[in-house]
């Protein structure tokens, strides 16, 4: 006699299969929502900010990618876009802005100066904002074209869609400063800030 309510045989599959499927569904919903409604916090300090404004304006219009509302308050922002060089005097400012943003939050480093210090390898300039705040996407260029920034934003979308609420490795956690007030170890900062390109011909003592 055949049993009416016979279920599918799942003995060969992991008992966590359905849970995993459900988690994937939740991740997909959460990540799609986050990725498609990023609110940018523009931190424009130099000529990259001009390209950023062009990206926001009608010709390129990053509102097409869910960034309609620019948050000029960090408390309502998701992604910090550092567009331009960052002097040491602004380092505590961008760190405070980053700390004021609610989680989850992402950072785009736009342009050569924000990413590496660019041509400003001198006493006043931070050699890459990744010594101050964690950076998700670096957009190269001096300044980048609006297409470049849009491509960076799309890469950030991709990265966000790969995150998971249930995976400690892929989940984003707050990264507070350590007791020295640094984000990275001093050796790491020195290594990141080493001169490269034409700067190697300039010496610290000259």
């Amino acid at each position: 006699m055949k049993r009416v309510g016979e279920t599918k045989d799942v003995s060969g599959q992991s008992p966590n299969y359905l849970v995993a499927k459900f988690q994937d569904l939740v991740d997909w919903a959460v990540n799609s929502s986050r990725a498609n409604s990023l609110w940018p916090m523009p931190f424009g300090t130099a000529c990259c900010a001009i390209e950023f404004m062009a990206t926001a304006a009608s010709r390129f219009d990053f509102a097409r990618f869910g960034m309609e509302r620019q948050a000029f308050s960090p408390r309502q922002a998701d992604v910090l876009i550092c567009a331009g060089r960052l002097p040491f005097k602004l380092a505590p400012v961008i760190r405070r802005i980053y700390d004021q943003m609610p989680q989850p939050k992402w950072v785009i480093s736009m342009g050569a100066c924000a990413s590496t210090g660019g041509i400003f390898d001198n006493y006043a300039m931070v050699q890459g904002i990744d010594t101050i705040v964690p950076v998700d996407v670096y957009v190269p260029g001096c300044p980048p074209r609006p297409e470049g920034l849009l491509y960076g934003i799309l890469l950030l979308h991709k990265k966000i869609k790969g995150e998971s609420l249930f995976d400690a490795v892929r989940r984003r956690d707050e990264q507070p400063l350590d007791e020295k007030g640094l984000r990275l170890a001093p050796e790491t900062i020195d290594e990141i800030s080493e001169p490269f390109g034409n700067s190697v011909h300039q010496f610290r003592s000259s």
Partner: protein, 205 residues
């Protein structure tokens, strides 16, 4: 270019020269700078009422003295004048402030102090203006200053991150804001204590 015109009867004038663009340069003795500037501003027929700029020059030639350069203009007479004071690097780098004559010299002299370390005696509020107030690496535009600063990048980042970004208001500005009553409590406390932020000592490795 013809030879330099006869020296005007400026008190303290050592010698005159003519710049390439035709401006007259007057070298003034350091001790008599304030006297000379007062004379230039107040004497009828001089009337240099507009203080354009003050800056400083240090030459690669170590033998040459530093120069503090004042750019003056008379708006009525449409005449420019440069006044230079020479300071030997071995001596004390100090000149008299001209803030009492031209109020606009305030921030300009602060910039020269910040970049060259030249003290302006009698300045009402001589603090750094471009670099932050706890900046400890020296004076960036001096020839002895290394391009990338004296400290390691990690130490520079540490000091920068440990500064208080709100500690750069002048006491006068804070007093005005306090009178308005819209100042945050912590800022008002800082005003009362006169604190402008202190960089903690680097931790022992």
């Amino acid at each position: 270019m013809t030879s330099a015109p006869p020296a005007p009867p400026i008190p303290g004038a050592l010698r005159t020269a003519v710049a390439r663009d035709g401006d007259t340069i007057v070298y003034v003795a350091r001790e008599r700078l304030l006297e000379a500037m007062t004379w230039l501003k107040n004497t009828p027929g001089q009337e240099f009422d507009y203080f354009v700029d003050v800056t400083a020059v240090e030459y690669r030639d170590r033998e040459r003295p530093l120069e503090v350069v004042y750019f003056l203009r008379s708006l009525n007479r449409k005449v420019d004048l440069r006044v230079k004071v020479e300071l030997n690097a071995s001596d004390e780098l100090a000149v008299d402030s001209v803030c009492s004559l031209w109020r606009g010299a305030d921030w300009l002299e602060r910039e020269v102090f910040d970049m060259f370390g030249i003290t302006f005696r009698g300045h009402p509020d001589l603090r750094r203006i471009l670099m932050w107030e706890t900046y400890a690496e020296g004076y960036p535009l001096r020839k002895s200053f290394p391009l990338r600063g004296r400290f390691s990048r990690a130490e520079q980042v540490r000091q920068a991150l440990n500064t208080n970004p709100e500690a750069h208001y002048s006491m006068e500005e804070l007093s005005i804001a306090e009178a308005g009553g819209d100042l945050p409590d912590d800022m008002r406390d800082r005003l009362r204590r006169g604190e402008r932020g202190v960089i903690p000592e680097p931790p022992a490795r």
